[in-house]
């Protein structure tokens, strides 16, 4: 699997994601700077990392979503290339219109940085096929703007179409319906606030994130 990690000024989880991808796919991802207008040829997976792109100016993810490389990411997503946005990457995907809703300031205003239990709500997606439906896993979160909000009709549609990939078991940031991660309507774009790339080796204390990348690799290589 040939993957690309998009790098914005202010990204700070790009190397973590690259290390996880290299470890789990056997290939070094291409690191693509935000000013590029095209992705390298033959990319079959795109990761948008966590961080504070453009210093969170205007709104988290707002400036990054309008950067030149995002046009290429949108085209690739429309062609069906799997795209994952983690943390700030999730914010970028909503700002870019690739996922519905918005991520607002945490309801209690404080930065939340800890491990959180999650439930895998949809185990049929490209990203979650190696988990069991309803399985409880633990990923770390580290964010200030993770409070997912959308109008009721959108939330009902996400529920009805099985597009809520992960849900927090406990109250974390005020997210509507405790949403931690969602899929787009064709299922090839996932945005989530928790960090799967931070739980992929024994030294991390947990390896719950491995199966996300391994499942994706199996699907892409199938």
């Amino acid at each position: 699997m040939n993957s690309a990690v998009i790098v914005f000024p202010g990204s700070n989880c790009d190397r973590d994601l690259a290390v996880a991808l290299e470890r789990l796919t056997g290939r070094k991802p291409a690191m693509v700077w935000h000013k590029e207008s095209e992705l390298p040829q033959g990319i079959d997976f795109i990761g948008i990392p966590g961080g504070f792109s453009y210093g969170d100016y205007l709104r988290s993810g707002a400036m990054a979503a309008r950067s030149p490389v995002m046009r290429a990411v949108k085209d690739a997503a429309r062609r069906g290339v799997p795209v994952i946005g983690i943390c700030n990457g999730f914010q970028v995907l909503t700002e870019a219109g690739l996922l519905p809703g918005a991520l607002m300031r945490n309801a209690r205003l404080s930065f939340v940085c800890r491990e959180v239990p999650l439930r895998v709500e949809n185990s049929q997606s490209l990203f979650t096929a190696n988990y069991d439906a309803g399985e409880e896993i633990v990923f770390p979160v580290a964010h200030h703007d993770g409070n997912y909000q959308a109008d009721e009709a959108t939330l009902d549609r996400l529920e009805g179409e099985g597009r809520i990939a992960f849900r927090y078991l406990d109250e974390v940031n005020g997210s509507a319906r405790r949403i931690a991660g969602i899929l787009n309507d064709s299922g090839n774009v996932l945005g989530l606030m928790p960090h799967p790339e931070r739980v992929v080796e024994a030294a991390h204390g947990r390896t719950d994130g491995c199966r996300l990348f391994e499942g994706l690799l199996e699907t892409v290589n199938a």
Partner: protein, 79 residues
């Protein structure tokens, strides 16, 4: 020519920052504040010929996130 764009959270969207400001005002002893909503003000210095429609386009494409925010444009006539 200058214009101001006021960006506010839509009604019904919870505003944690507004709530915190409200609590802080109360803790300073200011009573009689029923609610606080926080927003943004963006000032644009524009060339001649930029229309209201152009500014609205800027708001929809970048300045406001219309999923959660409303915007209002105010033109300032310069002397």
């Amino acid at each position: 020519m200058k214009a101001r764009v006021f960006i506010t959270l839509k009604n019904g969207v919870l505003d944690p920052q507004g709530k915190a400001i409200h609590h802080a005002l109360e803790s300073l002893g200011f009573s009689g504040v029923n609610d606080v909503r926080a927003g943004k003000l963006i000032e644009l210095d524009l060339a001649e010929g930029i229309s209201d429609a152009d500014i609205e386009d800027m708001c929809r494409k970048l300045l406001a996130n219309t999923v959660i925010e409303n915007f209002r444009i105010e033109r300032l006539e310069t002397a």
